[in-house]
Amino acid sequence: MTRTDGDVLHEDLAAGVRDVTPLMLGIVPFALVAGIAAVDAGLTLAEAVGLSVIVFAGASQLAAIDLLGSNAPLAVVIGTAVVINLRMMMYSASIAPYFADYARRTRAGLAYLLTDQAYALSIAEYERNEDRSRWRYYLGAAASLWIVWQIGTVVGVVVGAGVPDAWGLTFAVPLVFLALLVPAMKDRPTTAAGIVGGAVAVVAAGLPLNLGLLVGALFGIAAGMATEVTAT
């Protein structure tokens, strides 16, 4: 490693940090809600932070917190969270060719930081600018998200413990998902997946073992695939 390498590291890492900054406007409230919801469900600060560090995937964290709070069986908590995180397999597949030259250990580290935002930013940058150091740019964006996510969780736990229940702060949880859902319904099959998934989940809300979410999601996925077939 020479001095010039050090300069390059700085520039590409900084570019990742710079590009991810506007997205923090969406991440900060999401992280706060993850902390607030955790206290509300009776989790300790250590458990809330453990969830954010070990799982580090917001939507699945919120679903797991909700199910743990309503005493769902462990298998349902795990199954639901895992289904929610399955989407990251797409990101893993899509970004894999760009990481193919790195050592196995490097790839294992980069994979831990993979999120919706880090993926979306990096893929766009790799296609735009081939001279970028891929891992440095990715690390700049992904590690920034990680740090903000952990701080936000802790602040959420502290703030959430002091706010009266009547304010209904946990209502922010479905609102976060709503803000992510609307842009995810971008064509006919994805819209069908959303409508059917949501409707089935409402009807199935009374199912035993809190299986409503899982059943709704599976019906939604099937509806998306069926609509895709009829449209073509």
């Binding site: 969406g26 409230p29 009776g42 989790l43 300790t44 458990e47 969830l51 799982v55 580090f56 995937a57 939507a59 699945s60 679903a63 797991a64 462990l74 908590v77 795990i78 969270a81 895992v82 929610i84 995180n85 399955l86 989407r87 990251m88 990101y91 893993s92 597949a93 894999a96 193919a100 980069l110 994979a111 831990y112 304010w167 209904g168 209502f171 922010a172 949880v173 479905p174 609102l175 976060v176 709503l178 803000a179 992510l180 859902l181 995810a184 099959p189 994805t190 059917v196 998934g197 989940a201 409402v202 409503g212 979410l213 709704g216 999601a217 939604g220 996925i221 509806a223 998306g224 895709e228």
Partner: protein, 118 residues
């Protein structure tokens, strides 16, 4: 005192869930990043359903929190959470901004709960 102690002591169920979900989630993240080189592309049979995971899962997470089916249509529709959710949904659609969506939804909920339906 016992109730207070109870709240501080960790529930082993919670840690079990955290560790197992964390392990699966890491496996999902690592999957193709690790495999690349051994297999050329994602099989279409895997890729197709994955495209519909985000809308299906998100909708299944959101709607049951906004809608509770009640005996009468009026009681189902005149729910503060559903009304606030509709406001937030409109803001989400116009702005695609998480901050604005939370602000509009919470504002609408408080307005309904403390002023209009109080």
């Amino acid at each position: 005192m016992i109730a207070g102690l109870d709240a501080v002591v960790s529930d082993p169920r919670v840690w079990a869930a955290i560790v197992v979900i964390g392990a699966f989630t890491y496996g999902i993240r690592l999957s193709f990043i690790h495999l690349f080189g051994r297999i050329d592309a994602v099989p279409p049979r895997v890729k197709r359903p994955l495209r519909y995971v985000p809308p299906a899962v998100l909708a299944a997470l959101v709607l049951p929190d906004l809608v509770t089916v009640r005996p009468s249509v009026a009681a189902t529709l005149l729910d503060e959470r559903l009304l606030a959710g509709v406001v937030a949904g409109a803001v989400a659609w116009r702005t695609e901004n998480v901050f604005a969506t939370i602000g509009a939804g919470m504002g609408a909920l408080w307005l309904l709960r403390f002023v209009l339906l109080a």
